[in-house]
């Protein structure tokens, strides 16, 4: 690793520390909820290690625990992760090396490391992205593992109010994602579409159908 890259990585790791605390809390919650949603201990940890994207993982666990179909759970999670296409494109010019190395480095580009590596004006520091990304990945996988163990020790999720934890989490994530009037309108339309369909289609399908609201983006 070059001197400059190493310096950037250390700066990125330091900058991401407070964010990592929040991510740890999030991973802990995921471990507990995924176990209650019927995910095995190993599957839960592997999910965090490969997908490495909180909202998609929570969406899949939520649809499955509500009794939704396999396809609905998968499609909902994949749709939530499509944002990594434009995010990956934005950092593409900064990631160097043979394609297998770029593919590996790209796995560390998640919402938070992307934000920390952004130098402004669409330019990115690869070292900062990598440093922040490695800290985040270790935190996410580690806290998921602890949550899995804790989830096995806890009892009935309904008695503990854990069924209210899913919507609360999605609400907290939503608050960070809504930008501008168009985002608010799309969110409202998505909610209305999903609620209107609940009684008429299989569980999980309302979430996927709600994605139609993002066609609002076709308007200038």
């Amino acid at each position: 690793m070059g001197e400059e890259l190493a310096r950037g990585a250390r700066a990125g790791a330091r900058a991401v520390a407070p964010v990592a605390l929040a991510v740890a809390a999030f991973g802990l919650t995921f471990g507990v909820l995924a176990r209650n949603a019927g995910f095995g201990a190993v599957a839960t940890v592997v999910f965090s290690a490969t997908t490495f994207a909180g909202s998609a993982q929570f969406a899949a666990a939520s649809v499955l625990s509500a009794g939704g179909t396999l396809v609905a759970a998968i499609v909902a999670a994949i749709l939530l992760n499509t944002r990594y296409l434009p995010i990956g494109l934005s950092v593409a010019p900064t990631l160097r090396g043979p394609s297998w190395r770029r593919a590996l480095k790209a796995q560390l580009v998640v919402d938070e490391s992307w934000a920390i590596g952004h130098l402004g004006g669409g330019r990115f520091d690869p070292g900062r992205i990598m440093g922040a990304g490695i800290v985040l990945w270790c935190t996410w996988v580690g806290s998921t593992t602890i949550g899995v163990v804790a989830g096995d020790l806890l009892g009935d999720p309904r008695r503990l109010g854990l069924d209210a934890a899913f919507p609360a989490l999605f609400l907290a994530l939503l608050a960070g994602q809504v930008e501008g009037r168009r985002g608010l309108l799309a969110a409202a339309c998505g909610a209305v579409i999903a609620l209107a369909l609940v009684s008429f289609v299989p569980v999980g399908v309302p979430i996927v159908a709600a994605a139609a609201a993002c066609l609002l983006g076709l308007r200038r």
Partner: protein, 101 residues
């Protein structure tokens, strides 16, 4: 293979592919603005749908229960910019209390 493992493998593979696609396949080329604008709205749309469905639906029925109180309390916590663990704890404790009394 269990349903959970299928979800883990398919979603995991798709996520890895999405993240790698930009830097590996597309190089530095940009997506059309139209596609970017639509994709940008996917997260708020799906998260809003997940909020209302996991609050009001039980299977295919709309049910009003203790979850509403929990999510209401969580909304207050979010508005006060509470950390995510606090938001979740507030929702869970509120729902559990409403069920107890």
């Amino acid at each position: 293979m269990s349903r959970a493992w299928l979800v883990v493998l398919v979603v995991g593979a798709a996520s890895i592919a999405f993240k790698a696609a930009g830097p590996v396949v597309l190089g530095g080329r940009a997506l059309p603005g139209l596609v970017t604008r639509v994709v940008a709205l996917l997260a708020p749309t799906l998260l809003a749908a997940l909020v209302v469905v996991s609050t009001f639906a039980t299977g295919r029925e709309l049910v009003l229960d203790a979850r509403i109180a929990g999510v209401g309390a969580a909304a207050v916590a979010v508005a006060l910019r509470a950390p995510i663990l606090v938001v979740v704890a507030v929702a869970a404790v509120t729902a559990a209390l409403v069920r107890t009394f």
